[in-house]
């Protein structure tokens, strides 16, 4: 808040603040704006059922692909469904996919990563499996998984999660590997702390900072991958509107009715932009090196 109240900030400083912290470690105005945008979009999506004018599934074959008007704020789609209602409702699912994927992959990845990082015996096997998972192109794996389970919401989340997990595992593992060499961990060993205790109390908290950053990236890319899966015909059923499948459905109309892609695309981009910015900010805030420089 201090940053906003500080009127002496020139526009230029405001912009440059978008990326990193000012020298005195205040949160710049950029991340603030990002946070506001994100909160607005999240709330708007969350409460969409309360205010959208139409059932997002209600079709009217006679009112297909209508331009924006009083009755249809953003026009209608190829089924004659209200685009505004669909886009706002779609946000809920897309965000759910993003956040769900981030949470699942981080919690699963963290557990595997901690084990791999600390127990030499398990490390080799786990990392070979993770390498294999990484080597299989994420999209192809996701398509196959979706084909396997049908494109329900949960299977989409699983499909996007599976390729993300190895990245989280690698990250956590590397943090654990370097943290376990830290003198404070050796001190804990000397103090007679048990392995699980060291793992959970000393090492795990060290992974939080990079994981928050990673989480924001996963969240953003999950929303995008969902869009790509829809594009390839392996996405969530059109009965459940998501930004991804709205765009994928609207893609053929790109030159005729760009609004079908533009509006969900805009919200998606804003969201991802905001999430990424917050992730970067989190990284800057949490990076001990940055702190040292500030100090």
């Amino acid at each position: 808040m201090t940053a906003i109240s500080n009127s002496r900030h020139s526009a230029f400083q405001v912009l440059s603040g978008l990326f990193s912290l000012p020298a005195d470690a205040r949160i710049g105005i950029g991340p603030m704006i990002a946070a506001v945008i994100l909160v607005v979009i999240v709330l708007a999506s969350l409460f969409a059922p309360l205010y959208v004018p139409y059932d997002p599934l209600a079709m009217d074959a006679m009112a297909r692909l209508k331009p924006p008007s009083d009755t249809h704020l953003l026009g209608t789609d190829p089924y004659g469904r209200d685009t505004f209602s669909r886009v706002m409702m779609g946000g809920r699912v897309s965000l759910l996919i993003g956040i769900g994927t981030a949470l699942v992959s981080i919690s699963v990845g963290m557990m595997i990563g901690l084990v791999a990082g600390f127990f030499h015996a398990a490390d080799g096997v786990i990392m070979r499996i993770m390498d294999s998972l990484m080597a299989i192109p994420a999209i192809l794996l996701a398509i196959a998984l979706v084909a396997l389970n049908g494109p329900s919401l949960s299977s989409i989340i699983i499909a996007i999660t599976v390729p993300e997990v190895p990245r989280v595992v690698r990250l956590v593992r590397s943090v654990v590997l370097s943290a376990r060499e830290e003198p404070f961990v050796e001190a804990a060993i000397a103090l007679g702390s048990s392995m699980p205790k060291i793992l959970i109390q000393h090492l795990m908290p060290n992974t939080f900072a990079p994981l928050i950053v990673q989480g924001t990236y996963i969240c953003a890319s999950a929303i995008l991958i969902e869009a790509i899966l829809s594009f390839l015909g392996a996405g969530v059923s059109t009965e459940i509107p998501t930004w991804g499948n709205i765009m994928a459905e609207g893609r053929t109309y790109f030159q005729i009715k760009p609004g079908l892609i533009f509006w969900p695309g805009l919200l998606l981009s804003l969201c991802i932009l905001a999430i990424n910015l917050l992730g970067d900010t989190a990284r800057d805030l949490l990076d001990p090196r940055m702190k040292k420089r500030e100090g």
């Binding site: 294999s132 080597a135 192109p137 999209i139 890319s221």
Partner: protein, 313 residues
Amino acid sequence: MFLYILKRVLATIPVMIIVAIFVFLLLRLTPGDPAAILAGDAATPAQLERIRDGLGLNDPLITQFMTWMNQLLHGDLGTSLLSNTPVAGMVAERLGPTINIALMTITISVLLAVPMGVIAAWRHRTWIDFLVMSFSVLGFSVPVFVIGYILIQIFAIELRWVPVQGYKDPSDGFGAFFSRALLPSLTLATIYIALIARMTRASMLEVLGEDYIRTARAKGVRENVVLFRHALRNAAVPILTIIGTGFALLISGVVVTESVFNIPGIGRLTVDAILARDYPVIQAMILLTAGIYVFVNLLVDISYSFFDPRIRY
């Protein structure tokens, strides 16, 4: 060095075996029946059953797997269930376009992204930094196909500088290749540029704080020499790493780009094969892309020592 490479190459074997088992199981668990697509709409159950028998789809899983492995060990990728053509040939045909586009993408990305990242780090917290990072976040937040459409709209339809779609091999003339490969490469490059620029910036920021940079400046060396001779080489390892792991992203992007630009590459082949349950093709393709990924990352690993003499194997 040689021993290291040998060790690394050997280490890829278990990875590839796991990939193979994984892919095989995944496919057999996936619903869908190649016999059904082969037979078409009007087939009766008995006909389907006969076709399945003929394709060996009724054998126990383990038999099918062993047959496949045995074939693989003899360098035989099998034949497509649908077109009845050898998979190796199909793949060979389709590999060229993808590889060429990927190489062009990487070239474009590296040429643009690295200087972008370097300058952003050098001018940390200025508008240049802001611009570069904005672009890089934007590159992340727009789906590939939208970028593709936008580029087509602008460069192919409005400006008519390049064809809308298609692919020509460089052997048909570089101009023909270039004009068609440009848009898909740019489309693919947006994400890649974003990724590399961001990593370059982060890595450079770290390096620029190092003592030897101060040493270089204390010698009175010019700033561009400081940046590109002293800093960049030290920042190279994480950048290379991201280029290597980003390759997976590239493969994902390829699938979409090949659809949008109608490029007969392996991305589209694989998706088609998955949608048609053409098992031998899917298996070969995923093994191949996994192999390429592993190979690229092996190259990256080995190239570390070129950039950083401290890394010796």
